[in-house]
């Protein structure tokens, strides 16, 4: 009797995943060998009535996890942790316009779950993707909101290699407003067979993102929170004031000059002054009447500026001064649930990352509402929408190729003897003579604090699914993006600086809006007929948009009070207003895709897409992009049945074409002219203040321009081995781009154009290998581990640029002080470094004389020198590449390039009972960087009076000859600092621990009483260490395509210490 009573036992429990300890919804819990079973609800909970004999075994299964058997014994409540099934063979992967079981993929797709992205609390999913997917390289700066260069399998184009993002079916080029917490899945389509269904926009790869949807079940409330600090690190290694003064003397002595300096005097040894500035006097000592504080004035309205600035003999560390330990926090509240008729997921996010550089931050608020309604058993409609508000002031050296004149750039230039403030709390700077022209970065940053720059962005779509007879499904989605940006900048008069100090106050204000829309309709046929499975997709898509901007500026408002200064309070005569924008190109596409498999063993797929784009001329509007793929599941063959250690083995091959139209603008097919006040109007009347309007040619039309095409060949192997504990995916590919869209500069005889027509020229090729490995297993019943490795390598080579054009430089003039370091040249990878190759330093006059003698012999000129323009011991000796006995322009060559030999990511997890530990690493091996900061800090004559690098302590002297640092001297020649050379080039390899996270998940018992279903807490270190030989702040240097890897003083990736919690109610 009692036994019978015992037999009717109810067991309750909860099923969670091993990696994130989040509830698993819809997991099947079944009594082993019986038909009794149930499924978990939205909280991952279940309740099951069992015989209660103590011998029951529960079989718990869920897609994406390994099925697990659990003995009930005498427990009545149980938490079951499922190991994620890294083989995920039956999991659905989001592919172009549809989904596919992973095991039946014929192309190269890597998929990442949202939970695996958010292990690193970055505001932007692309920053989190680094190292997690093979074949994807991501270079990003540490600046909050700073962009990243995301490259899928290297480079296919000269101008634009950003992947296409498709978020819930809506294409976009920017996902910076998508909160990573909202992401459910992310798929990277890497080869043509998977991506070419996106046709013209898929040339650089496609990243598909779906956001989280609600599932049936009662309301589930999640709250994720993290908080931490970011640590700026040490900055540049620069000399202290005493060393700086001494080496200033050395530089002048080395140049044969008698040392003297506005601050250090003119004695045999330099003397640090007590004051660096008092009125117009420099280098003063204590007690000088000029330093009387009563004379002080920094208000130009009250009279001439009279600053009094004490020397900071201890030295100002400008990097420390302009950086701080900065907080970072993220809050995410999610509500989801639903029933058979409606499902909802509502997310609120607040992300606030303060930058380590003063006054930089990213503050973002997002609200997402995804809902879906089943209005009929065959009709489903839904929407996904996100509203984002963003405020993101930056220092402007993120991904745009760098820039010297910003807060980081000044820290390696501003002399350490200058304090941050003058004696009365005003700003101090280079108005004190002898320090050249850098700016006080603290002042610069502080003055930006009232600037505004706000983005409002609405992104999303509405959709309908209709299930039709004959296994047909119709899907229609209309989506888009509407954003608005407003900014206001106020530039203050900079009394403390050497330059710009008479410049007036200056207001700039502007706004733009951008709207784009896309409408997609697909019809899918999906049917299993015996051993045959056929799926056919037909679709059409159209897209377009419109955007405009207005920018105005004005000078000299009556008052510099930020509450007063607006455009309308500036002086009326100097105001300017510009605008721009207009309709976006429209695109209309038809596409079809067919997938067939026989017994899941022989798989075939074919895709074709025809795109029409408004940017092309009437005869060139359409492009057709086909792709085919085939796969063979060897493990399904009979002869493989013996090899039980092989769970799954598949060979894949694909070939396809994709297009690109990104660099082509709407005006490309037309001759256009512009009226420009700046460049085509003129004061014919001699009024000196009134312009007659004039016009100039803007561009010439090329209606013949057509689609750029890249052809990708891909062979891959997917294997799941050893009881499904080990997965490996290897892909080899070759991607050849032809008809490259490029706007080659044309000989100036046709006039200068701002926009050279984009035409089809040249070709380039990327060949590479992507490898992804995963292994997981149990060390004991309490200890589980998993480890994932990604490895990516590619080789890029430019095969042709254009007729008569074999190279072009990586930037227009002026972006470094000695010209462009990068060149794009046939036979070399994109963005190669270019210049003279340093053979070493001249060690003696005899060595120089011998070289000169050679030059004289070769040239027949008795006055010839090996190095025209000067050569002295301790200076650079270049390699005479053309062997004509002298160094000429012809001796410049490609020195290296920033493309790594390979990149790799390692992710390792270890679980012990309720603890889990995760470690993530990212590495770059090979490839070079140009440390352009050396031009300022290692050469006295570049900008005398600037800060000096401690590298110079090891500079060449007759007694210190075993060094690569040239003699420190007040000499500017080709042998010192006038040209690009390999001295600036350094190895770009690094190995970085991206993440180390330790978490603890509380088991139910006590929490349930508090209404908490699940609680996980963690501590985390982001970027705790980086191993590199690179001498700059950080080796992760990005840049624009064609001009990468030049370091102007980048905003570094910084260490972060984070604590956080994931709570489910």
């Amino acid at each position: 009797m009692s036994q019978v009573v015992m037999a009717q036992k109810t067991i309750t429990g909860k099923v969670i995943g091993n990696s994130d300890h989040q509830p698993i919804i819809g997991a099947t819990v079944q009594l082993k060998g019986e038909s009794t079973g149930t499924a978990t609800n939205a909280q991952g909970a279940f309740s099951l009535t069992i015989p209660g004999n103590g011998n029951e075994i529960l079989e718990v299964s869920s897609i994406g996890f390994q099925t697990q058997d659990v003995a009930v014994k005498d427990q009545s409540s149980i938490t079951i942790t499922l190991q994620s099934n890294t083989s995920t063979l039956n999991e659905l992967v989001v592919t172009g316009y549809t989904t596919e079981k992973e095991k039946n993929l014929t192309g190269s797709i890597s998929s990442v779950k949202g939970a695996d992205l958010t292990t690193i609390p970055m505001g932007n999913a692309e920053k989190q993707l680094q190292g997690k997917v093979s074949g994807v390289s991501i270079t990003t700066s540490g600046e909050p909101g700073g962009g990243s260069a995301v490259r899928i399998r290297g480079f296919g184009s000269f101008t634009s290699n950003n992947p296409l993002y498709v978020v819930d079916g809506v294409p976009t080029t920017d996902i910076s407003n998508i909160d990573p917490n909202d992401i459910a899945t992310l798929s990277v389509l890497k080869d043509a067979s998977t991506a070419s269904v996106y046709g013209a926009r898929a040339f650089a790869g496609v990243i598909l993102i779906t956001t989280k949807h609600g599932t049936p079940g009662k309301l589930s409330v999640h709250y994720d929170v993290s908080y931490g600090n970011q640590y700026p690190g040490n900055g540049f290694d620069l000399m202290n004031p005493t060393q700086t003064a001494q080496w200033t003397w050395t530089a002048m002595k080395n140049a044969g000059e008698t040392p003297k300096h506005d601050q250090y005097g003119d004695g045999a040894e330099p003397v640090l002054p007590d004051y660096i500035l008092a009125g117009k006097k420099y280098g003063l000592m204590e007690g000088d009447p000029a330093t009387d504080p009563d004379l002080y004035n920094i208000d130009p309205d009250k009279g001439p500026i009279y600053q009094i600035v004490k020397a900071n003999k201890a030295g100002t560390n400008w990097y420390k001064a302009v950086t701080r330990v900065a907080p970072i926090q993220s809050h995410n509240l999610g509500l989801s649930g639903g029933d058979d008729h409606s499902r909802y997921n509502f997310q609120l996010n607040y992300y606030n990352q303060q930058g380590v550089v003063l006054e930089t931050y990213l503050k973002r608020y997002t609200a997402r509402a995804n809902t879906e309604f089943t209005i009929h058993d065959r009709v489903k409609i839904g929407e996904n929408i996100q509203v984002a508000l963003k405020d993101n002031p930056t220092i402007g050296n993120g991904d745009a190729g760098g820039n010297e004149g910003n807060a980081i750039g000044w820290t390696y230039r501003e002399n350490p003897l200058i304090p941050v403030h003058d004696i009365m709390g005003g700003w101090a700077g280079t108005a004190a003579a002898g320090f050249n022209n850098p700016q006080n970065p603290v002042a610069d940053q502080d003055r930006t604090k009232n600037n505004e720059g706000r983005t409002t962005d609405i992104f999303g779509n509405v959709y309908a699914d209709i299930i039709l007879p004959y296994s047909l499904t119709f899907h229609s989605s209309f989506g888009g993006d509407y954003s608005n940006y407003y900014y206001k900048n106020f530039t203050y008069l900079q009394y403390e600086n050497k330059e710009n100090n008479p410049t007036s106050n200056y207001v700039k204000e502007g706004a733009n809006y951008a709207s784009s829309w896309v409408w997609t309709n697909t019809l899918t046929f999906d049917r299993q007929l015996g051993d045959n499975h056929l799926k056919v997709l037909l679709g059409e898509e159209s897209l377009g948009g419109y955007g405009r901007n207005v920018d105005v500026s004005g000078y000299n408002p009556f008052s510099a009070d930020p509450d007063y200064a607006t455009i309308s309070t500036t002086q009326s005569s100097g105001r300017t207003a510009t605008d721009g924008g207009g309709p976006y190109s429209t695109t209309y596409s038809l596409f079809a895709q067919a997938n067939y498999n026989y017994k899941d063993r022989y798989l075939l797929s074919g895709t074709i897409r025809r795109d029409g784009a408004a940017v092309f001329g009437p005869d060139k509007k359409y492009g057709v992009f086909p792709a085919v793929a085939a796969a063979w599941r060897i493990s399904g063959e009979n002869f493989m049945q013996e090899a039980t250690w092989v769970n799954d083995l598949k060979l894949r091959g694909s070939y396809g074409e994709m297009g690109n139209s990104t660099p082509v603008s709407l005006t490309n097919q037309y001759n256009t002219f512009m009226v420009s006040p700046e460049a085509s109007s003129y004061d014919l009347g001699g009024t000196s203040n009134t312009l007659d309007e004039g016009l100039r040619a803007n561009s010439y039309g090329v209606p013949e321009t057509h689609w750029e095409t890249n052809k990708t060949l891909d062979f891959g192997v997917d294997a799941t081995l050893f009881n499904s504990s080990f997965n490996v995916t290897v892909d080899w590919y070759r991607r050849t781009t032809s008809g490259l869209l490029y706007a080659p500069q044309v000989e100036a005889t046709i006039g200068f154009l701002n926009n050279y027509p984009v035409i089809n020229v040249g070709s380039m090729q990327n060949t590479g290998l992507d490898v992804q490995l995963n292994k997981h297993g149990d060390i004991s019943s309490d200890w589980h581990y998993d480890i994932g490795v990604t490895f990516s390598t590619y080789k890029n080579v430019i095969n042709k640029i254009a007729d008569n054009v074999d190279y072009f430089y990586g930037n227009s003039y002026g972006s470094t002080r000695i010209g462009s370091f990068t060149i794009n040249e046939v036979g070399h990878p994109m963005s190669s470094f270019y210049g003279y190759k340093v053979a070493g330093l001249w060690q003696s006059q005899q060595e120089i004389d011998a070289a000169d003698a050679g030059a004289q012999k070769e040239s027949g000129d008795p006055d010839a020198t090996f190095q025209p323009g000067g050569e002295n011991p301790g200076e650079f000796r270049y390699v005479d590449i053309d062997k004509d006995g002298m160094i000429t322009a012809n001796d410049r060559a490609v020195l290296g390039d920033p493309n790594p030999d390979f990149t790799y990511g390692i992710s390792a997890g270890l679980t012990f009972k309720n603890f889990d530990l995760r470690l993530e690493f990212y590495g770059v091996s090979g490839g070079q960087l140009v440390n352009y900061t050396k031009w300022f800090t290692d050469f006295y004559s570049s900008f005398p009076g600037n800060a000096i690098s401690t590298r110079v302590l090891n500079s060449w002297t007759p007694d210190n000859t075993h060094t690569n640092v040239p003699i420190f001297e007040d000499v500017s020649t080709a042998s010192t600092n006038l040209y690009q050379n390999s001295y600036y080039m350094e190895s770009g390899s690094y190995f970085r621990c991206r993440n180390a996270q330790l978490a603890y998940t509380f088991t139910q018992g006590s929490l349930t009483k508090a209404g908490i279903q699940n609680l996980r807490i963690y501590v985390q270190a982001i970027n705790p260490f980086t191993v590199t030989k690179y001498d700059g702040l950080d080796p992760a240097i990005s840049g624009l395509d064609g001009n990468m890897g030049v370091d102007y003083g980048t905003y570094p990736m910084v260490k972060q210490m984070i604590v956080g919690a994931n709570i489910t109610f």
Binding site: S573, S688, G870, L978
Partner: protein
Amino acid sequence: MKNKNIRLGILAALVIIVAITSCKKSFLSVTPQGVLQDAQVATPKGVREALVGAYSDLDGQYNPTGFNFYAQPDNWLYGSICGGDAHKGSDPGDQAIAMAIATFQGLPNNDYFETKWEWVYDGIARCNLVLRLVNNVGLAEDEAKNIEAQAHFLRGYFAFEARKTWKMVPWVDTAVTYVANNYQVPNDKDIFPQIEAEFQTAYQNLPATQDAIGRANKWAAAAFLAKVYMFEKKYTDALPLLNDIISKGETSDGKPYALQDKFSNNFNFAYNNSSESVFAIQSSLNDGAQAYHGNIGDLLNYPYGNGAVTGCCGFFQPSIELVNSFRTDANGLPLLDGSYDNDANAVKNDQGIPSDKPFTPDKGNLDPRVDWTAGRRGIPYLDWGIDPGNDWIRNQASAGPYSPKKNVFYKSQIGSGGDNSQTQWAPANAINYNLIRFAQVLLWAAECEVEVGSLANAEEDVNKIRNRAANTDDFVITTDSLPAAHYLINPYPTGWFAAKGKDMARKAVHFEEKLELAMEGHRFFDLVRWGDAATEINHYFQYEQQFTTDIKGAKFSDPTNEYFPIPQTQIDLSGGTLKQNDGYH
């Protein structure tokens, strides 16, 4: 019920698909906004504005994004610095590629060369646009003729800039277009004949006066034609033309050409478009174009440091050798034997002396033009106060003790003639730069008289210049109204040229051009056309490097350095059509 829904669904899907596909033809035609196209430009208004566009290129600002200060239509780098008038200035590494040019180490890939080339050929292309359209849009005959002649004038000017800088340059006429794909034009012929023809056409067809002072008139064309003759050494052609210009020439608003009373007025915003301005680049500020028409080519060329004109940037510092040249002897005549560089005669300067250490300026005889040409310590600097010397110099050890002056505005003119703010980092001004001023016409006439005419006439022309310079009202004065230095200048005594002979007369004329036109971008080109470049420039290097470090080891190589290298980018783009000048590689 169910089937009805299905049918409705299919119907809806079909309707949607048909709706989209049926409108796609027009859907894929999107007209860009805010740009002019062919039809709008091929109109009378279009042609008039295209001509304004060609004039607009005179100031070198051919590109609407970013200051094209490398173009420098006043040739401060090529004409003045390379000719020994001045140092590049600032720190040697600041604009290192300009330093390379200043020491004749400029490589063909130097962006200064590329920018100037792009600029002059853009100017030519703008003229070609006018010339292609002018007779096809229904303009009245007179207006069409005038516009066409102005376009020829401007095309001649731009082509001449190219010819004098690079010697072997392509001649580009209206036939060359992007669409015709014939833009790879060889540089295998000297284009002086075409340049002459341009100015001849302009001279024949332009009216004497115009409705706007900034337009070229027939006399401006005549003066440029004469300048071409001077460069071709066609003195017999040049002399009668110059005499015509001197006797009959007038400005576009009808003022007979004449020297202004004061030498300094030529560099003063308040005297733009004077009777001495044969043809000028019209500069403007507060015109709705930020400061792009405010002599942007000179934006680096202002004294540097606290209390100076502005913070930027300390370039273009007059040379010690140039300032010495203004030494006069007891008779108020220049030291034509070169002895002005002797220790005894060299002008005392403050090289090596900080501003807070005492310094007494030179007491000797000086041509008063020196203090309108170079900022010297202790001398009033326009109305900016007394020049403090080193405090306004960025790197004295590198580039010497002097500041530029002719291109700098008065403090009192800030707002109208000068501007410290609109570029946001460097000054701008509305002082017209005279591409040709009447003093130069007189001196060319003097040159011709020496070569093929009368030495007495040459002397008379030179003395007109010297007499004007001697106007005591134009001496730089101190606050107590005394001359700021011991100015002594006299005309050559009557018959001096004849007595000293042709060679000495030539020397006197050439030296007068050095003094009168110093820092105005002419010196290097004059030295080259005289055949004196190697001697003078190498003398300058040898002398000057005793005092400054920037030009140590510099050398002018004859004849290679008489012209600059053709920009490598253009050679590369030309597909082998353009050939590099001899001596460069």
